[in-house]
Symmetry: none
Subunit: 204 residues, 2 copies
DNA sequence: TTGACAGCAGAACGAACGTTCTTTAGTATG
DNA sequence: CATACTAAAGAACGTTCGTTCTGCTGTCAA
């Protein structure tokens, strides 16, 4: 399955800049404005040139049109560059130039949207696993897990995030913080889901 | 007796249904169509009634308008109701991931797409800050940062992730691991960007 | 020095759009 | 039967939109 043709990302040197402006605009407003409004966004004065730019971005695969002719972003529009760590000097612009991979974070972390849920982390019981208060846990809902998985279990009607362990044939919940005790459920252990990802946002 | 308008979230019983249709449409097309097109989507025949619906959804906080009058979705537009299955009381606020593909995590972490890039973390020099090898750093490219920010600096032609500090009027790079030394650059310090987010994927 | 072309501006125009106003059908109240 | 109100339709209209075409300016090769 290698027969997709490579859409030349940009046929015009300035298109990358226009695309960047459009991406930033979309991040703010979640819509693609009219040609007239795009004149301001792009800093140019003619609608016809805006159309030419959008046509090129469309051809390059960053935009497409609805049946009624509205411009809408494609998957490619949202992808972000992923730098190889071995990138050497020359930096700021060359990141885009090194045609590395492009990813969408949601797709990296979420395989099954309908089973996946995001839960904010409370407390510091998993701090030694690098899971801090305020982080967001990406959890795939299922009630089977393997020893060693980090799971969201339901204990005393509350969610708790712990490593699943086994001790004498019974499942236990192991925190990653020596200040917390291992949880040995009396009865059966109800597992809500398995941790598949973690997201942290740093305030600016 | 004078009765005032009660600012109920939805003043019309069918608005919930219209909202659902609009959400589905948006998930497909990532845009809010014209009133005429919405007539088809909603299954009604008059633009004025579509406008009335959108005005109500706007008042209820699901939509708003750009300065140039376009309708755009708000945060509330994307919020999903609580989890379906047999979850009892005590469910923390959690959102299920997207059907369709609206990119929640990306939107959470990325303010300025054109300046944001993803860099894999290598080494354990920031482990006490909960940043592990293999994590992906979400970095906003800029060369100014504040003391206390975690920055990506360019040292010896390589990226390095450290906390920015100051010592005797000069900037230094502080690791979050006692096994690593503080970096005191000889000349000036070249900052590639600032850490704005962190993403970790657990293998399954 | 000319010609060709690329990058952009500007005008023209019909179609589509959003807004407002008026009308109609149905239902509930009393 | 009269009234009142809601849900929706429809018409009217000025504005804006997208499209196309033409014009201008600078650059570069012949």
């Amino acid at each position: 399955m290698t027969d997709f043709d490579t859409p030349t990302p940009e046929s015009n040197p300035k298109d990358a800049e226009y695309l960047a402006k459009l991406q930033d605009y979309y991040a703010d407003w979640k819509s693609i404005p009219s040609y007239a409004a795009l004149c301001e966004v792009f800093g140019i004065a003619s609608k016809s040139w805006v159309k030419a730019i959008l046509d090129r971005l469309g051809k390059a695969g960053f935009l497409e049109r609805t049946p009624d002719g509205m411009w809408i972003p494609t998957h490619q529009f949202f992808a972000r560059p992923f730098a190889e760590s071995s990138v050497q000097a020359g930096m700021p612009q060359s990141i885009t130039a090194t045609q590395g991979d492009y990813y969408v974070i949601d797709e990296m972390l979420i395989d099954t949207p309908s089973l996946t849920t995001m839960i904010p982390v409370k407390g510091d019981s998993m701090i030694d696993a690098g899971i801090h208060e305020g982080d967001v846990a990406i959890v795939e809902k299922r009630n089977l897990a393997s020893v060693g998985d980090i799971v969201v279990a339901i204990v005393d009607n509350d969610f708790t995030l712990k490593t699943l362990g086994k001790e004498g044939g019974k499942f236990i919940l192991i925190p990653a913080n020596p200040a917390y005790p291992v949880i040995r459920p009396k009865g059966s252990l109800e597992i809500f889901g398995v941790l598949v990802g973690l997201v942290r946002k740093y305030k600016k």
